[in-house]
Amino acid sequence: MKNENYVVQSSEVYDAIVIGSGITGGWAAKEFTERGFKTLMIERGRLVEHRKDYITEAKPPWDYENRTKVAFDLVDDHYKIQRQCYAFHDGTKHFFGNDKDYSYTTEPGTDFSWIRANQLGGKSLLWHRQSYRMSQFDFAANRSDGLGIDWPIRYEDLAPWYEYVERFVGISGSYENLPQLPDSLFQPPFEMTLPERDFARTMARLEPDKPVIISRCAHLTQPNKIQVDLGRMRCIARNECQKGCSLGAYFSTQSATLPAAAKTGNLYIAANSVVESLIYDEKTNRVMGVRVIDNETLEQREYFGKLTFLCASTLGSTQIMLNSKSRRFPTGIANSSGVLGHYLMDHNYNAVVTAEIEGYDNEYYSGRRPASLYVPNFHYEPSRYHASFKRGYALAGNANRSDWQTMGTSDGFGVEFKNKVRNPGGWVMRLQGQGEMLPNRENQVSLSATQKDKWGIPKLHINCKWSDNESAMVDSALETAGTMMSKAGFYNIRKTILGQPPGLAIHEVGTARMGRDPKDSVLNAYNQCHDVPNLFVTDGSSFCSSGVVNPSLTFMALTVRAVDYAVKEVKARRL
């Protein structure tokens, strides 16, 4: 990026404003700029430059002052929530939000862990990169069982857009032809370990409705020309992705969409700009721009644009909308339906089963695979629902050998113990349930009536909890994974319920949902606000149901489809 593309003060009326720079914001900016739209990307956090700002990349553990651990006082004061994320450590903490600055409140008796990544690139730097298409069954689920409003789109509407983004992103995976998990456009899959391959073969014979496949992830295994031209390279399986990857081997804003957008010369970036609210003109019924508070100086300024795309994460976008009040929209912009903030969902990852695998003593692997095993949802339509709950879950995990990280407190001393630490231990299989969460109106975010954050913006108040349906699903996932492992001949099977609150799958969706009827939804089938035509919301807040799979690929497909629609509408002078 050239310096002149970084904006602080500007009176320019941009063709499009994109709020947020994560996975959806990056895509919106790329698509608009490549279509000739002068686009302002607004990011509340600091700039992070690809490569240059990956300050801990390739840093070995002995070069950390605390060997990658984070000081107790620092965690206690600033990262109590963020530390719950598996990827939080001393080498990544600079990409996580500070809980003190980004505080929120929760309803008594409930808990929600909101993981924050507020810098250029957002959570695209930290995501787990697992990438799946939602299926025809996911988009039809609400209509099929009546648990939520019908999605206004079907799989066929999104399929070409999935393919469009996959060609650019690069998804590794295997073609399986499963109805509940449509294939993507794949680069070669990561390999399974030998016990995993045998497990997959055994399950194909004994549990044919539960195919065991390699997970699909946004890592380059055979980069195409588009990716090579952006300076991206093949993944070498370090699996230290959340420190940043100078190879650009995994998809992020910095490695992919941002350089593509910057190439056009149409991209402008306003960093350190915390959006306080949208500027709404009641006469024209249009969003004219945004009011922002400077992240550092706390000064207020405004930016203007003809179109606004909210891509600030599910809760971030919803907070901005709720805080954009006017005479026409006293409870938040585009909220004539009253559903804005309701129907918050995540995925439930609380069921974990482990077991030991006998044999394979001279079997090992090399590299650190960023992918896992995956067992797609097998309760994917009402006729396949379990008797005790609705919808379904997937299982994800792996089989690898235990090592010093897990054997460190085992018994022994001396040379014998040293050898134990040195040598790989036995094989362990781990499977974790990934359950769908139902859309409940009671799971809601609203603005605190009394508390504001350091930028003077009302804090988000979150009232969200698991329902009996999700709990029953956890029990079933434990049972199913245990049975699969038992049938495979594994032993010492252990079932654990993690007891984590919603939020920690970091798949929050649903608080400004799409729908056909403006009376019960915020957005139409193109992620456009029913009430305000030049306002689009394309992140996870648009979801009508959570589905089972990791949602990011769907965020991307929805975003590019919405941009395509918006551009056509502008060109046809309907917008």
Partner: protein
């Protein structure tokens, strides 16, 4: 391992020599902080006891042991900086107890006992046998976990005893263990 020359050429072509040097310079952040001989939390007596526990747990062989890579000083620092006061107290009380019951195993404090006697004491501790109780074992697990962690994340432990591979050339799902010999970790280092 990836062909470093090939990767270096590719990296320089896309990202310049600076980034390539960072990635391929043998982990060349290399501030290589050496633990200085200052106490963070533990008394000199406690530290000396801990040093001998390190020697008994992971001794020097053809590679350095835990004491040689200063695990005891590392643990002192970790306890002070990363652990809660409760865990700090538990650890210090255990070290004091080890010193105070040493006379049951021989006519000296722990560090002056013969290696066999030290080992006998530690084995009783690990088995929660008299004079040790289960709560002592809980505290010892903190220390033992830190000995292993400190050793395996030290440069010597990770690269001489274990096989720390900063830049694997992709993932291979099936490799004979006899070819690998030792392993750093199969998992991401979270």
């Amino acid at each position: 391992m990836i062909n470093r020359r090939h990767l270096l050429e590719l990296l320089i072509s896309v990202s310049g020599a600076g980034t390539a040097a960072i990635l391929l310079g043998g982990c060349s952040h290399n501030t290589n902080k050496k633990l200085v001989d200052t106490s963070w939390l533990l008394t000199s007596d406690q530290l000396e006891t801990l040093r001998h526990i390190c020697m008994q747990t992971i001794p020097a062989t053809h590679t350095p042991g835990a004491a040689e890579v200063n695990c005891h000083q590392f643990i002192d620092q970790q306890l002070k900086v990363v652990f809660s006061e409760i865990d700090q107290q538990k650890s210090m009380m255990l070290l004091d107890k080890i010193r105070s019951v040493s006379n049951l195993y021989g006519p000296a404090v722990f560090e002056r006992l013969s290696p066999d006697k030290q080992l006998a004491l530690l084995r009783d501790l690990e088995a929660s046998k008299d004079p040790f109780a289960h709560r002592d074992l809980e505290a010892f697990k903190i220390l033992k976990g830190l000995i292993v962690f400190g050793y395996c994340t030290s440069e010597e432990g990770a690269t001489q005893e274990l096989n720390y591979v900063a830049m694997p050339d992709g993932f291979k799902g099936s490799v004979p263990l006899s070819q690998v010999k030792s392993a750093y970790s199969s998992k991401a280092y979270y």
